[in-house]
Amino acid sequence: MTAPLLEIRDLKVHFNLPRQSLLGPRRVLRAVDGVNLTLHEGECLSIVGESGCGKSTTALTVMGLQEPTSGEVLYKGKPLNGPGAPSRKQRARIAQMVFQDPYASLNPRQTIGSTLLSQLKLHGLASGSEAQDRVAAMLKRVGLQPDHARRFPHEFSGGQRQRIGIARALMLDPQILVLDEPVSALDVSIQAQIINLLMDLQETLRLSYIMISHDLSVVEHVSDRVAVMYFGHVVEEGDWHSVFTRPTHPYTRRLIGSVPDAEAILTGARGVPDGVAIPSGRSFSPDISIRRDPGQSSEPSALVPVGSDHRVRLAI
């Protein structure tokens, strides 16, 4: 296996919560509590989980929009945070992000063209008519018209805006795209278009994706590898096929079992496939039967391999 493109090592992001009383104990929200993930070149790694599980915080840390409490993010072996980290401008060429809400992700007072052009200018990549050409080419690439550059965001539909969001993220030729719920704010019919576009772009531009999503059917469709997060921990991780056909951690199983799937319901073939047997005497962790206080530190646990590329978190 080749060296990973991006590596997240023991990442922790903790937030201080206000004390409940004046002399009460200091409370800490462990949004991300020791996450290890790797992204290989050309791969789509999806992080799934429900609201508050820490998947978005992990993504923001990769983008440098959130400072980690501890741990590191390595790009081709070099740290992206801490001393010696690349500047914001250097970082921009490595990873870019597509945001969830297509309505809040574009500046309402800037034309699409000036949003895209300003990036080229800032990085000194192109100027004058060459820059214009590159903007036009990019708009075409994401399925828009070159003359859309003159328009303002409010003149576009949700799906078109998401295309613009993708164009903006690709303008600097980054290697990694972080997709934060890229289709969850869109209508079903538009979702298919955007997913297809993202898959096409990944192949033609040899991009690597980190996709944050709660929509398991979309995740299954586009991912190479999947990590399931629960209360700040990765509880199951591995090759998409292995995770979806042999979901082993109880939380993963519950997640897959909760997807309201029309055909499965109607044919009565509703059930979650069997998981992998875990070594006897071991138990899953975190225990999902107890909804714990997120501030509370959890029992010691570790990801244990249960297949060639499939790991599950068990209590030690």
């Binding site: 983008m63 440098g64 929009l65 500047s87 914001r88 401008k89 250097q90 970082r91 921009a92 060429r93 990873a95 870019q96 992000m97 945001f99 969830q100 809400d101 809040a104 992700s105 574009l106 500046n107 309402p108 007072r109 800037q110 949003t115 300003s118 990036q119 800032l122 990085h123 969001g165 903006r168 993220a169 303008m171 600097l172």
Partner: protein, 273 residues
Amino acid sequence: MSLRFNFALGLALVVLVVLGAVLAGLIAPYDPIMDADLMNSEMPPSWEHWMGTDGQGRDVLSRVLYGARVSLTVGLISQLINSVIGTALGVSAGYFGGWWDDLVNGLTNVMLAIPSLVFALAIMAVLGPGLPSLLLALGLTNWSWTCRIARSSTLSLKNQGFVQAAKTAGFGNFNIMRTQILPNILGPVLVIATLGIGGAVLSEAALSFLGVGIRPPQPSWGNMLSDARELIRTAPWAAIFPGLAIFATVLGFNLLGDGLRDMLDPHMRTRTA
């Protein structure tokens, strides 16, 4: 419907005052300072003196017109200073957060706690009367609302996708504040500024009335009122007309500001759309 009417009325009043100030040199029938005629003092309104004459026989209309220059200069420039200070502090505090935010917040609260007129009075006492010190005194004491609005707008904007995207694209913080945040908070800042101009006109009048603003014989609505104080029984017109001018100007700017706020407020827009 009445909203539109209010805005139009405000606009009309403001335009009237601005025209009076700009064209004072052309339309004022007399010189506001030199044409003192003690023989014709305290004359009631007549065809020669539409607004009568004051205690020193000067034409009240001419003095009101020239006084508009002072009021508008003070109103516009001091509010401009306020807007710049308030926006700069508010945007940077909201954007950076941390100790800078705490500091700006504390300062804003202190400014809000001290009546701004008292603060301005203190500055005037130190700097002495005159137009420049008046501009400074009023320009440094009334930025707290602008600052608050700018800060809260920035707080809600800074986590939106387009600001985050600008960060990940490598833009510097100053650049992001200027190109991404500022254009999106200009609306509310403008509304506050319009309302602030009316307030500044009023403060100028108050300070001049107290004798620490514009020094006589230079006419300002405030010192005209102050001069006319003793004539209120014998020549009320000398007090009524500058008073009406203040009233009309302040009302005009307030209506204009309210109208702007309703027009720029997206919630209002969807409700009427």
